[in-house]
Symmetry: C2
Subunit: 331 residues, 2 copies
């Protein structure tokens, strides 16, 4: 018998089709993965090829005496450009539109073509996370920017066109509706109960234990109760900080091995699956509010949606998060 | 310059990345499509193999003297089963779940293995649509059923495991959140303006003309202003009927050639693209309300989502609906 489960952060229901469920090992990648070299002559992100990605915003470290370890450039084909105002325009007095104002960065995570996060040192991951935070802080001072989304595409089905490890950042002048609903649900919960919804989720996951993958003093990694897809994974801070932009340097240092280990476990357990991750964070201006908690949501691309999801927006998950979490915990 | 466009039916914004936009012909399928035979010995949906899909709900025509032209069977691996009540249960007093109550049909569109809708006679398409309506009407009498979603997966990336032409129907005991938001937006619009939102959309599309693909006395086919994906196509009745379950027989007969021609044009223009369609319809019980209009939403699977969509729910469309509509209009 399958069951409906409600995501407490969005109030949306998903279906866990447990009687047609696959076992966790059914999701292991069976494609042969080619070896990736440490340098590729045509790669615009490799060390020595910086002229191929010229619109540099900054590099870390910034001094000219050492070679860079993380570099931020403007996306060659930006979906949004920070140019002009945010007035709405109309088409024939009915449809609503506005210019594509915003920011679209590429964050080159390393000068080395095949140094994925799960192969980096903890220090390297900390530096990357510090660059995420730095870019967040720079952009959040622009009055036009309402939400900053930092994300990563790993593998072809996850939407990467370039193999070289990189993340992206898109800053938007509107809060996307899906994020906004999460914020509204969290504000309502705060009003109704006096507590933070995300604190209560962590509390229940830690009591139940079966969906927890990693538990440290500062962070919890788990497969959420109403996971939309098999092996969906959340990394959450335990201090309930609303915005990733406010994360402290010690917490960045603590987060680095947790992110690395989480991706390493997925990589090993499922044989290098394609995945996306995105940092969910409070809207710009609400960084100090207490209704929300930032988190990293990792979405392995193991299944695809079909007509039912397109017609209803309701996801059918063919794996039990309790089973996938156990599988990853034991990896 | 790209632009944000707001979907009037959901209030969600999408980004049309027109300066990185592809031309319509860039989306033509370049894969060689193998010839599909008219009969496949192992196919559970082919004429003569009915014993392989035994859970028949009904067939059309029903008389035993002629061979069937449309057959409805229970899905072999149903995601929902109509068995039991709809009480919510709790996990540790916090998470909300309920049994997977509902219905999951397969509608075998034809006994012939390669007779896709765009190759059928108009009469055959009418009969298929009449079976959709019949099954809607049967299920809408069950007090547990709140929404009935009829959909189709065509091609591998659209989620089909079986080539033989078939549709599916899922009836759910809850209204999925995404559908519910559409209903709420439409009710608000009705309250605010005294008019039906969908009537006004049709009105503006017909005035603007550039996104219209087919225009008959009874139906309009267009690429919506805020299309989420390239070549997204809506087929809407002009009479503003809230529920597909209430469609009249003459309108079924009028719809058949419109659906067929729409799929034919997509098939020819893009060389047999994978696609899904879903019939959006008012919730069970609201069939006679005047705030909504049913429509068929066709979503070709030409692109895939990446980390930005996963982090924000906001779609980036790399084609202009005005251009894709022109391309299809001229096919």
């Amino acid at each position: 018998m399958s069951e409906f489960r409600q995501d407490p952060t969005t109030k949306e229901w998903i279906i866990v089709a447990s009687h047609r469920a696959k076992r966790p090992h059914d999701f292991i990648n069976k494609q042969h993965e080619p070896d990736i070299p440490s340098y590729e002559a045509k790669c615009p992100f490799c060390s020595g090829n910086e002229y191929l990605s010229p619109n540099e915003i900054f590099r870390y470290p910034a001094d000219g005496n050492s070679s860079w370890r993380v570099r931020v450039v403007t996306n060659k084909y930006p979906v949004l450009v920070l140019n002009g105002g945010t007035q709405h325009r109309e088409e024939s007095d009915f449809f609503n539109k506005m210019s594509g104002i915003g920011v679209h960065d590429v964050i080159i995570e390393t000068p080395v073509h095949n140094r994925f996060i799960y192969l980096m040192t903890d220090d390297e991951v900390s530096e990357l996370l510090a660059v995420y935070r730095e870019r967040y802080r720079q952009l959040s001072t622009d009055a036009r920017i309402k939400l900053i989304i930092i994300f990563k595409n790993h593998g072809k089905t996850a939407g990467t066109s370039l193999v070289h490890p990189h993340s992206q950042l898109v800053a938007t002048p509107i809060v996307p509706a899906e994020n906004n609903r999460q914020f509204e649900v969290a504000i309502d919960y705060r009003n109704d109960t006096g507590r933070c919804l995300y604190y209560d989720i962590i509390d229940h996951e830690l009591k139940f234990k079966e969906r927890v993958v990693i538990d440290t003093n500062e962070f919890i990694v788990f497969h959420p109760f109403a996971s939309r897809v098999p092996f969906e994974t959340w990394i959450m801070p335990k201090n309930g900080l609303a915005s990733f932009g406010n994360i402290s340097m010690p917490d960045l240092v603590n987060l680095a091995p947790v992110l690395k280990m989480t991706l390493q476990k997925l990589h090993i357990a499922l044989a290098n699956p394609d995945f996306n991750y995105a940092i969910h964070t409070a809207p710009v201006g609400d960084e100090d509010k207490d209704y929300y908690s930032w988190y990293i949501r990792i979405v392995p691309r193991l299944t695809s949606i079909a007509g039912f999801e397109i017609g209803s927006g309701m996801y059918i998950n063919t794996a039990l998060p309790e089973e996938t979490a156990e599988f990853i915990r034991n990896t």
